[in-house]
């Protein structure tokens, strides 16, 4: 298991380094941040001066190595737009996004897993059809629209929750449900399909023949194997939420990493955008690494392969 983990970790480091090179080159070649910083009516001379001051007139390789040296030394750089250290920006915006993402993934699990299991146990029944229809509907509805509907119904009509903000835990309920519902179809379908496959396999038939009770059969024998792909998908979904909840954060006025990314992109604040892309990529890598470990723990064959 340790050797497996070591191999995966090495691979993750190589991918991280490659990613950092690609994002740096793409970002710094795609836009001229000096023009954005200089403002609308700045002269050529002023733009050139800013370019010199920020070191943007140096070769890209030198800029990248400088950035990498800083990151390895714990210096994530200074935001040009927010006029603060990037590390401070990310640390101050991360808690709300992390809380929102975990709440959203909890909503996904609570809805998708039972629905997928029930649908698999009663294939082609009314419950199954309802579950599949629900998944299709949840996938089709845009999050900003669903967010506004939730605001009208639960905040304005019923007055159960506050409209927007992140001041209390109650503020996170509606955005977490909206964000969580988005992932329900993928997780529910995978659970249903995986469980259907497993339930028709030989070892389950054997277990049934041996008289194992249905509840125990599902919990101890079927689910353990059926959940393998679900764990991987949940990891990806969590990564999506940690890095991609821009719309939900905007609708519910939550000042998390998504909004920070959006505003930094609009302002061509490359140090912040570069670091955010890097952090989002790292999140995916770490979550994939963890899901690989969980899968290897659930299925010893993966460790040996």
């Amino acid at each position: 298991m340790l050797r497996f983990a070591y191999r995966r970790l090495l691979l993750a480091c190589a991918v991280t380094l490659t990613l950092s090179v690609i994002t740096f080159v793409l970002l710094y070649s795609a836009t001229d941040p000096a023009a954005a910083i200089a403002g609308e009516d700045a002269t050529h001379e002023r733009v050139a001066q800013i370019r010199r001051e920020l070191g943007l007139d140096r070769p890209l390789v030198v800029q990248y190595l400088d950035w990498l040296r800083g990151v390895l030394g714990g210096n994530l750089g200074q935001s040009w737009y927010w006029r603060q250290p990037v590390s401070h920006l990310i640390l101050s915006h991360a808690p709300v996004t992390i809380l929102l993402s975990f709440m959203a993934i909890a909503v996904t699990i609570v809805i998708a897993l039972p629905l997928g299991i029930v649908a698999a146990l009663r294939p082609n029944s009314m419950v199954d059809r309802f579950a599949v229809s629900f998944a299709v509907a949840a996938q089709a509805v845009p999050t900003f629209w669903l967010g506004l509907v939730f605001i009208v119904v639960f905040a304005l009509q019923l007055r159960w929750f506050p409209v927007s903000g992140d001041a209390t835990l109650a503020h996170f309920v509606m955005p977490a449900v909206v964000l969580g519902l988005v992932s329900v179809p993928a997780v529910m379908r995978l659970t249903r399909t995986g469980l259907l496959d497993v339930l028709s396999s030989d070892y389950i038939r054997t277990a049934r023949a041996k008289g194992v009770r249905p509840g125990r059969l599902i919990r101890r024998h079927a689910l353990r194997n059926a959940l393998l792909p679900v764990v991987s998908v949940l990891a990806v979904q969590l990564g999506n939420k940690l890095g991609g909840s821009v719309v939900t954060e905007s609708v519910f006025a939550i000042n998390g990493l998504g909004r920070l990314a959006l505003e930094s992109i609009l302002a061509a604040d490359l140090p912040t955008v570069q670091m955010l892309v890097f952090v989002f990529a790292l999140i995916f890598l770490v979550l994939n690494f963890l899901s690989d470990l969980v899968n290897a723990w659930l299925d010893p064959r993966i460790r040996i392969a």
Partner: protein, 514 residues
């Protein structure tokens, strides 16, 4: 594992429960929603309208634009005089306090303006002050002398709108690179205004409280509301929902259809007021993009003016929440006399005839650049196409537009100016049609001279005369297609009273409970 997760969640919750503003009269707490993020408390380092509004609460400049008369009147200053054409002497009030309790002195004021002129300060208004101000000196404890490079009629407005006074030495720190710290006031502010900053989360929220030692005199008077919380809510629908639920008391720049819908529910009130934002299309009369191109011909530019149904655009697309403009400024501004302007009524046949006279009976290709208001820009392009001009809309982001402007790629640009809320044509014409401006596509030196004459004399009659000539020449030569000036909609809870000044600047210190 479980305990680590608990600790992590606890940290997240601690951050998420930083502060909770309860809006309402009972708590004497006004919660205002802004759509764009406040990223610094220091108004010398931001040029968003949101920062202007915040700055009016947290800082007292030497002068203020009076909401009623539109004139620059003393605020932290007591009096002023021009010792000669390039020496402005300002006497300070002796009761202006910083929020740390210390008294504002002439040394502080001189330090502030010399810092703003220092290239190391990298402040947002360096270019503006460099243009006319040479230095500032303290002459005794309460007198400051501004040495000017040239006579400048807008000096008091510039002191009112583009600068906040800072405590002497605040931007100098030996521990920082180069011994200076431009960001010293970014996250914590020592201002002089009627409200002090209690807490600030960049991009999220600013909590203000009435400064108890504020002098309660002068143009701002005594602040009627004790606490003001400014929340950043980017989505306008969410803003409206917050007002209807009572979570937010006051919003501005909310789209009319959303504001009307919210007001019709009976849970909010809609107050409309004027704005100084001028929308126009600049035309490349100078031939920067194409030497001797169609836009260098007067009749072609006049045709472009005649081809647009401004009334129709205002009525149908802006739902009446705007007024048609015929001038390169807003008539409420000093020096912007509509009677001086040549008007171009909607007349597509005349437009076609003018084009034919110049040899463009079959039209020509024209790129219309813009960074906003896609529907309106498309409507303009469509009306131009109707007279034969093959208009192609180039909708791009602001920085791309700026860069294209810098490299002379823009034959026609849909643009706007808010004049920084200054009710004087000198706040828009030099920036947009004056010599040296990247936005000036007129190529008309004579027009430039008229504008500069208007801003370099203190004689009001002479200024008015020069502005009249400039307005007349700009419209006669059809350097622009003036479009309209928008109204502003404010959505607020029904327990508030607020009326908008004609300069379009939202003043939160004028909001009162009913």
């Amino acid at each position: 594992m479980l305990s680590s997760l608990s600790l992590f969640l606890a940290l997240a919750l601690t951050s998420a429960t930083a502060s909770l503003a309860v809006a309402g009269k009972a708590n004497d707490t006004l919660v205002a929603a802004f759509p764009r993020e406040i990223r610094t408390l220091d108004g010398n380092y931001a040029n968003l309208r949101e920062n202007d509004m915040l700055g009016l609460l947290t800082d007292d400049a030497l002068f203020a634009v009076d909401a009623d008369s539109g004139r620059a009147v003393p605020l932290a200053a007591k009096a002023h005089e021009f010792r000669d054409k390039t020496t402005l002497v300002v006497d300070l009030r002796d009761d202006v306090l910083f929020h740390d309790g210390s008294k504002m002195t002439a040394e502080d004021v001189a330090y502030t303006y010399n810092w703003l002129l220092d290239p190391r300060s990298k402040n947002n208004y360096l270019d503006r002050f460099e243009r006319w101000l040479a230095s500032a000196e303290a002459e005794g404890p309460s007198r400051v002398v501004f040495r000017m490079k040239e006579p400048y009629a807008m000096a008091l407005y510039d002191l009112a709108m583009y600068s906040k006074v800072r405590k002497k030495g605040v931007h100098h720190d030996a521990a920082k690179p180069g011994g200076v710290d431009p960001d010293a006031q970014t996250l914590q502010l020592n201002g002089t205004g009627p409200y002090r900053v209690v807490s600030f989360r960049p991009g999220q929220q600013v909590v203000l409280q009435r400064f108890d030692r504020y002098r309660n005199a002068g143009p701002k008077g005594a602040p009627p509301i004790r606490n003001i919380t400014i929340r950043i809510i980017p989505d306008m629908n969410t803003q409206a929902a917050e007002v209807m639920s009572g979570g937010v008391n006051w919003t501005f720049e909310i789209p009319t259809e959303i504001a009307e819908g919210a007001a019709q529910s009976g849970q909010a009130q809609l107050v409309s007021g004027p704005s100084m934002r001028t929308f126009y299309i600049s035309l490349d009369a100078a031939g920067k993009v194409q030497k001797d191109g169609p836009l260098t011909k007067l009749k072609v530019r006049q045709a472009l003016n005649h081809a647009l149904d401004r009334e129709g655009i205002v009525k149908n697309l802006l739902k009446g929440a705007a007024q048609v403009l015929h001038t390169p400024c807003v008539p409420v501004q000093f020096g912007c006399d509509e009677a001086m302007a040549q008007k171009y009524p909607y007349d597509p046949d005349k437009a076609k005839a003018l084009l034919a006279e110049e040899g463009y009976a079959n039209g020509f290709d024209l790129d219309l650049w813009a960074a906003r208001d896609k529907a309106i820009v498309e409507a303009i392009a469509s009306q131009w196409r109707a007279v034969g001009i093959r208009a192609n809309v180039r909708l791009v982001k602001g920085p791309t537009l700026s860069e294209a402007r810098r490299v002379n790629q823009i034959p026609a640009e849909f643009a706007s100016s808010g004049s920084f809320g200054v009710p004087d044509a000198g706040a828009i014409l030099p920036d947009r049609l004056g010599p040296g401006s990247a936005r000036n596509y007129s190529g008309d030196d004579k027009l430039g001279q008229m504008i500069m004459r208007a801003v370099s004399t203190y004689d009001e009659a002479e200024r008015k005369s020069a502005f009249d000539e400039a307005v007349k020449r700009t419209t006669e030569q059809a350097y622009w297609v003036p479009l309209y000036t928008e109204s502003q909609d404010f959505l607020m809870t029904k327990d508030l009273s607020y009326s908008q000044a004609s300069d379009g600047m939202a003043r939160l210190f004028l909001v009162r409970w009913k």
